[in-house]
């Protein structure tokens, strides 16, 4: 194992569900990926796996209470680099504002 932790994902922030003023669509969550500021920049991330890592409940026998919800980057959203993600199970609203991991796989390079 390396002495220093290695990060093989980009950080992103959950902004909320895709929505209009009065109606929201929980199937889609909006994510702002760090460093992605334009629609053209999102091309790399489309299709990449996304994970919300969180702690929940008591620690299990292996000593961890870390849980993961997996999803994918689906499409870009708007012009400023925000991205729509679809999770296997919809993200709960407690994830709004939380940091999300945008992995670099499935890779196309």
């Amino acid at each position: 194992m390396p002495s220093q932790p290695i990060r093989l994902y980009t950080k992103g922030v959950v902004l909320g569900y895709r929505r209009s003023k009065h109606l929201q669509y929980p199937q889609w969550t909006l994510v702002r990926i760090e460093g992605v500021k334009e629609k053209t920049d999102t091309q790399f991330y489309l299709g990449k796996k996304v994970a919300w890592v969180y702690r929940a409940g008591k620690k299990n026998k292996d000593g961890s209470n870390i849980k993961v919800m997996w999803g994918k980057v689906a499409t870009s959203h708007g012009n400023s680099g925000v991205v729509r993600c679809r999770f296997r199970h919809n993200l709960p609203p407690s994830a709004f504002g939380a940091t999300i991991r945008v992995m670099m796989y499935p890779s196309n390079i």
């Binding site: 390396p2 290695i6 790399f44 992995m103 499935p106």
Partner: protein, 265 residues
């Protein structure tokens, strides 16, 4: 192409001009605009000359080729009034000795299609799994589509292994492996886990099994030999380039301010 008609000029569009490669498909109708052909259906029929064909079938004098199905014709009564000839194929003279069901068309296995950057000798970054962050050398694309990689083992502890191409990033660093001969035993079957078949475990073995799994996995000496034969061909090539050994030893990580869509791998 422009035709003159009542003062307005029509520019005919030929579908072949829409695409970059020019084909001369004369069967394509000439278009006024997309979806609007120049000639109407009746005009096209007239032009095609199909109306001139009097009858289909063999020309007088030509003998029609008959299919090799011997048939019997019987007169059968239909309803109250009518009779019609019913043509039935006669039972064949020869039958196969065993009724073998007809084999359905089986897809031929094709050579694996993998993205063009995955060339033998390329240095890859593994993105997930036990080897995440490691830089490895691609040796070969196996028939299953998986990649055969090696550390080499002495440099970064990565053995001969298969890896999914989707969980790998190709870097621009390449190693010349043209001189490397891979033993023919290195294929998918070699790496596949053997299917555990056999009598079900007894109660004792079941409990002992847990302990066995925790013990270190034994690597066959055959594998170690193969590792050596392959790596000993690659290590001198790596040694020629400065810092390449240290590069392969180092892990890849994204640092602050590094975004994969901007990084040039």
């Amino acid at each position: 192409v422009s035709t003159q008609s009542t003062g307005a000029s029509l520019t005919l569009i030929h579908p072949s001009s829409q695409c970059e490669t020019h084909h001369n498909f004369s069967t394509m109708p000439k278009l006024l605009a997309r979806g609007v052909p120049l000639l109407s259906r009746s005009a096209r029929y007239k032009k095609s000359g199909k109306w001139a064909v009097k009858h289909r079938g063999p020309v007088e004098g030509q003998v029609k080729k008959s299919k090799n199905i011997s048939t019997t014709k019987t007169e059968k009564k239909f309803g109250k009034k009518g009779t019609r000839t019913v043509v039935r194929p006669r039972s064949p003279r020869f039958y196969p000795t065993e009724d073998v069901p007809k084999k359905l068309y089986a897809r031929q296995p094709r050579p694996p299609k993998v993205r063009p950057s995955l060339v033998p000798g390329a240095v890859l970054i593994v993105l997930a799994g036990k080897l995440r962050g490691k830089r490895v050398v691609l040796l070969k694309v196996l028939k299953s589509g998986l990649l055969l990689i090696t550390g080499p083992y002495k440099i970064n502890g990565v053995p001969l292994r298969r890896v999914n191409p989707r969980y790998v990033i190709t870097t621009s660093t390449h190693i010349d492996v043209s001189g490397v001969e891979l033993p023919s035993t290195l294929n998918d079957e070699f790496f596949k886990k053997p299917i555990q078949t056999g009598p079900k475990k007894s109660q004792e073995e079941f409990f002992e099994g847990d302990k066995k799994d925790k013990q270190k996995k034994q690597i066959s000496p055959e594998r170690k030999e193969l590792q050596k034969t392959v790596d000993n061909q690659i290590l001198p090539v790596i040694g020629k380039e400065q810092y390449l050994k240290e590069y392969l030893n180092a892990h890849f990580s994204l640092n602050k301010g590094e975004y994969p869509h901007l990084v040039k791998f």
